[in-house]
């Protein structure tokens, strides 16, 4: 299956693009020309336009925007990757558990998930974030991860239900494999594809949600550079210094596009009807 995925041209392209974004973000300490939090020159470099020394200009506190965008992308990607890890693990575990336990447990779990899905995500996040005093990276990952697994658990349960009806599961049962063994050894590898799709689409979504939270002032505490926080800081003087807002905005759009494209190309490569995968 992995070979099929890598064999798909659109998957390779999207993977390459995602790789470039991730490499740039995680090389921030080496690529950045300045310390992202350093106030360089409060008089001369206060909202200075793009120049040779500061390709993306500087912000209100005379900090280099390019450095802040690089560090901000690193923060956003880290938060997104870790949150997705939490949410996908949790979602998969709950989806599988719902099937394994079956009956009333399944029904109760899935109705709870339905209920959670009915609450607007941003409202839920606002309430949680408002109750938190000082949000550090771990707290943000926990908040985002713990509120975004509902959809994944539905997907996993649906996939498990369809995998369960396959003949190989009946064959495995007939040969005396236990339910847990069938779930982990036979069903899980078969639903790895949809989980992968959910994960890479999730990265894009979480970047957006995190940017939104930061924009509302509920993200990581300043002066930590984050893409959403940069837009929030720059909005009040967007007419005098558009570069402060445009740079992180463009990065958000590009990053989200890249990970959505990755998710879509994976979905397509995994869909037998699209002909992307040999039968």
């Amino acid at each position: 299956m992995i070979a099929d995925l890598v064999g798909s041209r659109s998957v390779r392209r999207a993977l390459g693009a995602a790789g470039i974004v991730a490499t740039l973000a995680f090389s921030a300490p080496w690529l950045s020309p300045y310390d992202p939090n350093e106030h360089l020159d409060a008089v001369e470099l206060r909202i200075a336009g793009p120049s040779w020394h500061h390709p993306l200009g500087t912000d209100l506190f005379s900090r280099d925007v390019l450095s802040r965008v690089l560090y901000g992308t690193r923060v956003s990607l880290t938060v997104a990757a870790l949150s997705v890890l939490v949410s996908v693990t949790l979602g998969t575990a709950v989806g599988m558990a719902a099937w394994l336990a079956g009956g009333a447990v399944d029904t109760v779990l899935m109705r709870l998930v339905d209920g959670a899905l009915a609450i607007p995500r941003i409202l839920l996040l606002l309430v949680i974030a408002a109750l938190w005093n000082h949000i550090n990276l771990a707290a943000l990952v926990a908040i985002l991860g713990l509120t975004s697994w509902f959809g994944t658990s539905r997907v996993v349960r649906a996939e498990v239900l369809s995998a369960r009806a396959r003949e190989y599961v009946a064959a495995a049962r007939s040969l005396g494999l236990s339910r847990v063994r069938i779930a982990t050894q036979h069903v899980l590898p078969n639903i790895a594809g949809p989980i992968l799709v959910a994960a890479s689409l999730g990265v894009g979504q979480i970047i957006l949600v995190e940017a939104g939270l930061s924009f509302l002032g509920l993200g990581l505490a300043p002066p930590t550079a984050s893409l959403g926080a940069m837009i929030q800081e720059g909005q009040s003087f967007v007419y005098q210094a558009p570069w402060v807002v445009v740079a992180p905005g463009v990065v958000i759009v590009l990053t989200v596009l890249v990970f959505s494209a990755l998710g879509e190309s994976l979905r397509e490569a995994l869909d037998p009807r699209s002909g992307g995968r040999p039968a």
Binding site: R173, S174, L175, G176, L177, H186
Partner: protein, 329 residues
């Protein structure tokens, strides 16, 4: 001969929107040590449901009649707790399914899947399980077993996949092998090879085989005894030679008439008129009477029981009591 597996009064009902469907009704048979018993019948006659009930693999919607019992190794399978049941599956009674391609997990290598079965039943390490997997792959005649261990199902032919399924079934040395239409999905030449393999394995390992098939001609060379099913009943059970020499039940007669005979090429193949009615609407009386050439009024009112019809054979037909009514063909 001792019975390895005894099925008594097995009835299975499915609740459907059109009322209860009695898919299997009052089925009893014994599978003796070292013999091959074939369950033969058209689609919808209850063969597969019977096979699935033996390993309790029926869907949740199925209800098994309260008086039924399926005895294996001194215990009633229908009353087993989860763990002993799991032990019987695979290590006592193993099953081979109709579609080898879909019965194997597409994303796992075939050797790994065989080893999985070993690990499910024996407390051995991965290496021992792998060695056993390769050993059974050789047993079922897979060449280059070490290389094929790593192959995925889509890389193997249908015949090879079915050999892998049989290897999986035999990995934990079961006493009974249930083969549900094991050759139906395969090419004719491969069918013969797989049947030969089953016969050979049965002899070498002392297995008892319950062979399920719609093809009377196919089982004739393999089965020691044949039980013909119609409408959820066993309508005739006898040694294979007796069935072919002189079928008692008109349905068996009809099935035999539909088998092409190389020694009588001038004979037209006879079709049995009509279809098997749905299991929700069995006709009153004998379930076969609407399609039976010999039927008279008694057949539409009273349901015949399974009675002796000679030495070591039984059938479910009023003609046994009133042989004079048999119309000569």
């Amino acid at each position: 001969m001792t019975a390895v597996l005894s099925v008594r009064d097995l009835g299975v009902t499915f609740d459907t929107p059109r009322g209860p469907a009695r898919a299997v009704d009052g089925v009893s048979f014994d599978l003796h040590a070292g013999e091959t018993l074939a369950l033969v019948g058209e689609s919808g006659c209850g063969k597969t449901v019977t096979a699935l009930s033996i390993l309790r693999l029926l869907p949740d919607a199925a209800r098994v009649a309260p008086g039924a019992s399926i005895t294996y190794a001194g215990a009633d399978i229908l009353k087993l707790e989860a763990e002993p049941l799991r032990q019987v599956r695979g290590a006592g009674i193993a099953m081979v399914f109709q579609e080898p391609m879909t019965s194997l997990n597409p994303v796992l290598s075939v050797g790994w899947q065989i080893a999985e079965t070993v690990l499910a039943h024996k407390s051995v390490g991965r290496a021992t399980a792998d060695a056993r997997a390769i050993e059974v792959m050789k047993l079922v005649g897979i060449a280059d077993a070490e290389d094929r261990y790593r192959a995925y199902p889509h890389q193997l032919s249908g015949g090879l996949c079915q050999r892998v399924m049989i290897a999986m079934a035999l990995a934990c040395e079961p006493k009974v092998l249930i083969a549900d239409e094991p050759t139906t999905a395969l090419d004719v030449t491969i069918q013969a090879q797989i049947l030969e393999l089953l016969v050979d394995l049965k002899r070498r390992l002392g297995l008892s085989v319950l062979l399920i098939s719609h093809d009377l001609a196919l089982v004739s060379g393999v089965a020691d005894r044949i039980a013909v099913m119609y409408g959820g009943h066993i309508v005739e059970e006898a040694a294979t030679a007796d069935v072919f020499a002189k079928p008692v039940h008109p349905y068996t007669e009809g099935l035999l008439g539909a088998v092409p005979r190389i020694d009588r090429p001038e004979l037209r193949l006879a079709a049995i008129p009509g279809n098997v009615p749905p299991a929700t609407e069995w006709p009153a009386g004998c379930r076969f009477h609407p399609r039976c050439a010999h039927a008279w009024d008694r057949c539409s009112t009273g349901e015949p029981g399974l009675v002796a019809a000679g030495a070591n054979r039984t059938a479910r037909c009023w003609l046994i009591e009133e042989p004079g009514r048999r119309k000569s063909s």
